[in-house]
């Protein structure tokens, strides 16, 4: 019974971790219409940067601030990179996929060359604190992940639904041309979108880095988990990311704890396929905002 409880709590928290990556993906998608295959690498850069700084003597919080600065600069640059394609209507998914994969390759290899190929794990101020459950201990790091996912989700929900910038970004993400003709400043908001994704990436990085191994090559795996979560939930909804993340987190932990690792490896792809077979736009597909045929 305790085992089950433990798997559930850890599954929820790890799911929160997937959700953090997925939130970065879905916020950029909702804000700019770009599906980012480099989100995991943004997370990686943040985590690795903090890791290198903390082993170099800086504290966790100092590292966090520095990583934020680094990622912000990188996000602005990335945003600028995506302005031209957005305005020139290069929104074809194949171009975006290959373009962001290119970005991911660059980030991963640059990080490897510049920050090094060592592996780390972050220690946060709350790492030592833990909830005890018989022999099990659940570090506050895990709890922090779940909390952060929930808070960021709420923040983005409010941002997109309630604010005017959020409205303009949704317009841009749905139809750049119509948005542009409406006077939306595509360039500026594209950068804003990437900056948001970068900020979520920093949070994801510094939090996830405390529970998994940090290295320059961790990005792709994170991106894939993030996608799985975002797709299962439905890309359009910030809470979709959390729902999807938690589903995968739980499923993986139960599969690993009660079945075997092959099942665990297969479970996320299988869930994606099963969900999209029944609900092609994810669980939270919502009302059909697809334009009717006229």
């Amino acid at each position: 019974m305790t085992e089950l409880l433990y798997f559930t709590i850890i599954g929820l928290c790890i799911g929160g971790g997937y959700a953090l990556v997925a939130l970065g993906i879905s916020t950029l998608f909702n804000g700019t219409g770009v599906l980012n295959f480099a989100q995991g690498d943004i997370v990686m850069v943040a985590a690795l940067f903090v890791a290198v700084r903390t082993t170099g003597g800086g504290g966790y919080l100092a590292g966090f601030l520095e990583a934020t600065a680094v990622v912000l600069v990188a996000s602005v640059l990335l945003g600028l990179l995506f302005v031209r394609p957005a305005i020139a209507r290069r929104r074809d998914i194949d171009l975006i996929i290959v373009g962001t994969i290119g970005v991911s390759t660059v980030l991963a290899n640059l990080a490897n060359n510049v920050l090094g190929s060592e592996t780390y794990r972050l220690t946060s101020p709350v790492t030592a604190q833990a909830i005890r459950l018989e022999s099990f201990s659940i570090s506050f790091d895990y709890i922090a992940i779940l909390l952060a996912a929930g808070l960021l989700m709420a923040a983005f929900f409010v941002f997109y639904k309630r604010t005017d910038i959020g409205l303009q970004m949704r317009a841009m993400s749905a139809d750049v041309d119509a948005a542009r003709l409406s006077g939306v400043q595509i360039a500026r908001l594209t950068v804003v979108g990437w900056v948001f994704a970068g900020i979520v990436g920093v949070f994801a990085g510094v939090l996830l880095g405390t529970v998994l191994l940090v290295s320059a090559s961790m990005g792709v795996a994170l991106t894939i988990s993030g996608f799985a979560a975002a797709m299962i939930g439905g890309l359009r909804h910030p809470y979709g990311a959390v729902v999807g993340g938690v589903i995968i987190g739980l499923a993986e932990n139960y599969a690993a704890g009660y079945l075997n690792t092959a099942t665990r490896q297969a479970i996320a792809p299988l869930i994606i396929m099963a969900v999209l077979l029944v609900l092609p736009q994810g669980i939270l597909a919502g009302r059909g905002i697809k334009a009717r045929v006229v």
Binding site: A88, L167, A174, D175, S182, V184, I289, R292
Partner: protein, 279 residues
């Protein structure tokens, strides 16, 4: 009032204004003034360059020549800046974000405009003109009928609380009843001092709203004068020989036999863009 207006700068003035798709000038050496509070019509056959001209005035197409809005030189400004100077456009295509609700579309337009009146007030006055939209505020714009979309498009133009309104075929797809109402609305706008530049195929609408017209053909102004100076049939004559045949552009000897890749059908090309594929 009308005496003053000649001394005031024109609400919109084009001088030697040309607009380009790639290297082809779709509007060529166009010059005219639109006085404050008046409505001027732009007519012409299909493909004459009317939409290009409006898009260019609003800053979405690469141009040469001069453009000023209320006396302020604007030909280098971004579309957003022009909009905040009080120039709003109702485009022919992509006039609304179909995925957003009707209300959100209205708000979006208000946001990027001048915000001269509070949002609620602006919305109420627009919905008075198009009551059919009032019941649909929460629906995605994509669910509207063709004519309802057209109403939304015009409403969005009005939401920008502009001084100069560029309307690209606002009556296309509207029922006769709504056309009359729109005509009335344009007159009201003029009375409030708002300037309208109207592209239309429907001559009777132009007749009922515009004091002056320019006829565009092949990108050039082929006739202009007061509306009273021309009738429906002689307009038709000005349209003849209209169809542009594109001069064979200096392209590669078409090694592919495949058209150049374009991914969407619309044509909002950024001002001053040096797109590599803009051949």
């Amino acid at each position: 009032m009308s005496d003053d207006s000649t001394r005031l700068p024109a609400a919109l003035e084009l001088t030697g204004f040309s607009a380009y798709h790639g290297s082809v000038a779709a509007a060529n050496d166009v010059s005219f003034r639109v006085e404050r509070g008046s409505a001027v019509g732009v007519l012409g056959p299909n493909g004459a360059g009317k939409s290009t001209l409006l898009l260019a005035a609003a800053g979405f197409v690469r141009t040469t020549g001069g453009l000023s809005i209320a006396g302020q030189v604007a030909d280098r400004l971004s579309p957003a800046r022009r909009r905040r100077l009080g120039l709003a456009m109702v485009p022919q295509e992509r006039a609304a974000v179909l995925e957003l609700s009707v209300a959100e579309n209205l708000r979006l337009s208000w946001l990027t405009g001048r915000r001269a009146t509070p949002y609620e007030q602006a919305r109420e006055s627009v919905l008075e003109i198009f009551p059919a939209l009032a019941g649909r505020l929460g629906d995605p714009a994509g669910n509207l009928s063709g004519g309802q979309r057209q109403m939304l498009a015009v409403s969005r133009g009005l939401m920008a609380t502009c001084d100069v309104l560029l309307l690209d075929e606002p009556t296309a797809g509207l029922s006769p009843k709504l056309i009359s109402e729109l005509v009335q609305a344009i007159r009201t706008l003029n009375e409030r001092g708002i300037t309208v530049l109207l592209v239309e195929q429907n001559f009777s609408v132009v007749e009922r709203t515009c004091s002056y017209i320019h006829v565009l053909n092949g990108g050039r102004i082929v006739w202009h004068g007061p509306t009273t100076g021309i009738d429906r049939d002689s307009i038709g004559d000005l349209y003849s020989g209209a169809r542009r045949t594109r001069p064979p552009a200096p392209r590669a000897p078409d090694p592919v036999g495949e058209p150049r890749v374009r991914t969407t059908v619309d044509r909002a090309v950024p001002a001053g863009s040096g797109e590599p594929e803009g051949t």
